[in-house]
Amino acid sequence: MKTSLNCLLCGVGGQGTVLASKLIAQSAMDQGQQARTAETIGMAQRGGCVVSHVRVGQVVHSPLIPLGQADLLIGFEPAEAVRCLPYLKEGGTVVVAAKAIQPVTASLGGMDYRAETMLDYLKAHVEKLVVVDGDAICEACGSSRVLNVALLGAAIASGALGVTLSQMEETIAQRVHPRFLELNRKALQLGAGSV
């Protein structure tokens, strides 16, 4: 594990950002690091924007990552990744799921946006960008609930998370019900394969 890491996870309530941030923090702790996280819990969880902050290292005061300080941004949804881009430091890595989740307000107002517009913006502004076809991985795993672990796999393979796949597998094994272990292992590997 790197001696210091600021990782921001963002998405839409219900996508599993909280578990992913816990896994990153726990994995860092399993490698002997200190970790700090902050979560969005409460009303925003109902389909609103959610952001998790994970900070690893000895001297970390604030649970929230300051703007421009994130080494890694994991976007569970393209528009949310763009929204949180000001957190990314220069030269930082972005791992993003390709599929847009249209908010009801957009569908109602006929203001649907295209995922491509958001991904194009990311491509133009981020040097180290990994786009993950989360739908394909979820389909291959037979579960719509493994996007979070697939994105972790991609983040690890990008080298920006500072843990190995086998270290993350061990952490997952401690936190996830044995029944879902194989499923998560597969999602992690497929996610890593998208880099």
Partner: protein
């Protein structure tokens, strides 16, 4: 002792267990909920934990046990203390025998609350000491100190974390030890009955005691001076202290600092030591300028030539959360440093994404049924606190008023008296009904108001993460208790007509509302359908695109997040659909059908 990744709320519960707490009672409310849930989950075996019916009940249950010498903890969110303030104000005079800590979580922002009220004011108002942790680690240690102080002075003590402490996780060494507290039992004494003469004497005692606690706090490890250079100093506390440390490190400055962990009674002698030799002080805090006013007062009292910067002088924001960025900016301004202007990146237009009712949420069906039933008639819809507050959003637009827990029932009665010709509806969730709805219904029946009560019974306390309540028949001790029936309660009160219907049966639901609304007096419709988060999804629905005429009625009228337009046709997003069937009942051409059940 291994380090664990522990959430602030978990740290508070684990610290209380270590301190020998024997009873924990509370009512769910973001950001406080996980404290009590952790106490129940980590129960060492001799701990009693309950979700009380509301915060007032929780505080009184805990006070009773503390009268008998037990260490007790009460948990709630900031607005919950408004409900519990009646017993709290009097308990401050009566006192306790066992240590009693009232944990009240504040929510700067607010992120998930009705108000930005500051519990530190409640501390000075009720004359009770208050602890204000700045991190999960500190909360873990501090809660033990709060119990010790409570017991030493025979007074309840407030403990006020904020959202960013409650919902932050940190690496903490958790001790396996647990202090052994043997409650002495209740000893009869006139001191347990509050009377005017006793209150007068106790008031004198409290006014004498508090400056002594303030002096004690001047030597507390939770209040400290960080030495630094120059004539400019910083005062902070709570999570703002963490932001201040981070901002100082980013700016590479080290002015003299005072970190305050016990805002009331204010540690005056420590603050005087800090102020000595300074010209100007910046106060960094969230919510109200509590530390700032204490310092202004202290400077006046001691004729100190120190200027205090903060919210009162317009140098710090008066509402909302602090951030490292906002503190860094204020700090740079205060210290006369110039900050390199960060050009704000030009982002493409982003969708607004307010929270919404989940796909498949039965509340959507309930609101829609009432809306259909009252089409073309004048009606006012009074809402309440819970997931169903989200019924306010377009296209449902079914929450005309929302004030506080239980107010839907009684606001509607006032509206009816002001405008008798307009039909009034009250929407209340099952947990809110038990917490503070019943007295409102009694009021309606007794005073002969005209009202249709809609109970949204999803068999859980959904918004705060699915806690049991009196209607669920489950307790936090794992026991199965007798379910309290909402229809039986309403009938017993004397509500004329009480009908229970499944909101996902649209035609039956609309008819039930029409019939209830047509009757005079107090009538009730109970929409019973469990929260989707605690049930398995039914077989999903799909749009047969050759049948879909692209009229968008499903989107326009329901606003379900699982339905989107795919070109000119509607489409159901399978990862979000729960199979509630409402869209299929609304589609004018029968284009939305249930998928074949998978074997």
């Amino acid at each position: 002792m291994a380090k664990r990744l522990v959430m602030g709320n978990e740290a508070i519960a684990l610290g209380a267990i270590r301190a020998g707490v024997g009873l924990v009672a509370g009512y769910p409310g973001t950001p406080s909920t996980e404290i009590l849930e952790t106490a129940a989950r980590e129960n060492p075996g001799d701990l009693y934990v309950e979700w009380s019916v509301n915060e007032k009940a929780a505080l009184e249950v805990a006070a009773g046990a503390a009268y008998a010498g037990m260490r007790t903890m009460v948990t709630m969110k900031q607005v919950g203390l408004n409900v519990a303030s009646d017993p709290l104000m009097s308990l401050a005079y009566v006192g306790v025998k066992g240590g009693m800590v009232v944990v009240v979580a504040d929510d700067p922002g607010p992120i998930s609350s009705q108000t930005e009220q500051d519990t530190r004011h409640f501390a000075s108002f009720s004359k009770l000491p208050v602890f204000d942790p700045s991190s999960p680690e500190e909360a873990y240690e501090m809660i033990g100190a709060a119990f010790a102080l409570s017991e030493a002075h025979g007074t309840p003590v407030l403990f006020r974390p904020t959202t960013r402490v409650c919902h932050a996780c940190a690496s903490i060494e958790i001790s396996e030890e647990r202090q052994k507290i043997q409650p002495e039992g209740f000893i009869k004494d006139p001191k347990w009955g509050i009377f005017p003469r006793l209150s007068y004497l106790n008031h004198l005692h409290i006014e004498k005691r508090n400056p002594m606690i303030g002096e004690e706090f001047s030597h507390s490890p939770y209040n400290r001076i960080l030495p630094g250079e120059g004539k400019l100093g910083i005062v902070s506390g709570g999570i703002s202290w963490a932001y201040t440390c981070e901002a100082m490190s980013l700016l590479d400055v080290s002015p003299r600092c005072l970190k305050v962990g016990t805002p009331f009674p204010f540690p005056e002698s420590l603050a005087l030591e800090f102020l000595n030799g300074l010209d100007q002080v910046l106060v960094v805090e969230e919510l109200d300028p509590v530390l700032e006013r204490e310092l202004v007062y202290l400077c006046g009292k001691h004729h100190l030539p120190v200027t205090i910067w903060g919210k009162l002088t317009g140098d710090m924001p008066q509402a909302g959360e602090n951030t490292v960025e906002s503190v860094k900016k204020a700090l740079a301004n205060f210290l006369g440093l110039s900050l390199a202007e960060q050009p704000a990146p030009a982002l493409p237009q982003l969708p607004v994404r307010p929270p919404v009712l989940c796909a498949g949420c039965p509340h959507r069906a309930s609101f829609y049924a009432v809306k259909q039933a009252m089409k073309g008639q004048k009606a006012i819809f009074c809402g309440d606190i819970g997931c169903y507050t989200l019924g306010n959003a377009q296209p449902l637009d079914m929450v005309d008023t929302c004030l506080c827990m239980g107010a839907d029932v009684t606001i509607a009665q006032g509206l009816y008296r002001a405008e008798p010709g307009v039909k009034t509806f009250s929407f209340i969730g099952d947990s809110t009904f038990f917490a503070s709805g019943i007295t409102g219904v009694v009021n309606a029946v007794y005073n002969e108001h005209d009202l249709t009560l809609i109970v949204l019974d999803n068999a859980t306390t959904a918004m705060t993460g699915h806690q049991p309540h009196p209607g669920t028949g489950k307790t936090m001790m794992g026991a199965i208790s007798r379910k309290i029936s909402i229809p039986d309660v309403l009938k017993a009160i004397g509500v004329q007509s009480v009908v229970t219907v499944d909101p996902l049966d649209l035609a039956a639901a609309v008819q039930a509302v029409q019939e209830a609304a047509a009757q005079p007096g107090v009538t009730a419709v109970i929409f019973r359908s469990p929260c989707i988060a605690v049930t398995k999804p039914a077989p999903l629905f799909k749009v047969e695109s050759d049948k879909c005429i692209g009229c968008r009625k499903c989107i326009r009228e329901l606003g379900c997040p699982a339905i989107v337009m795919d070109g000119k046709k509607a489409a159901v997003e399978p990862s979000l659909c729960y199979g509630c069937s409402l869209c299929a009942q609304v589609c004018p051409v029968g284009a939305i059908v249930r998928e074949e059940e998978k074997a």
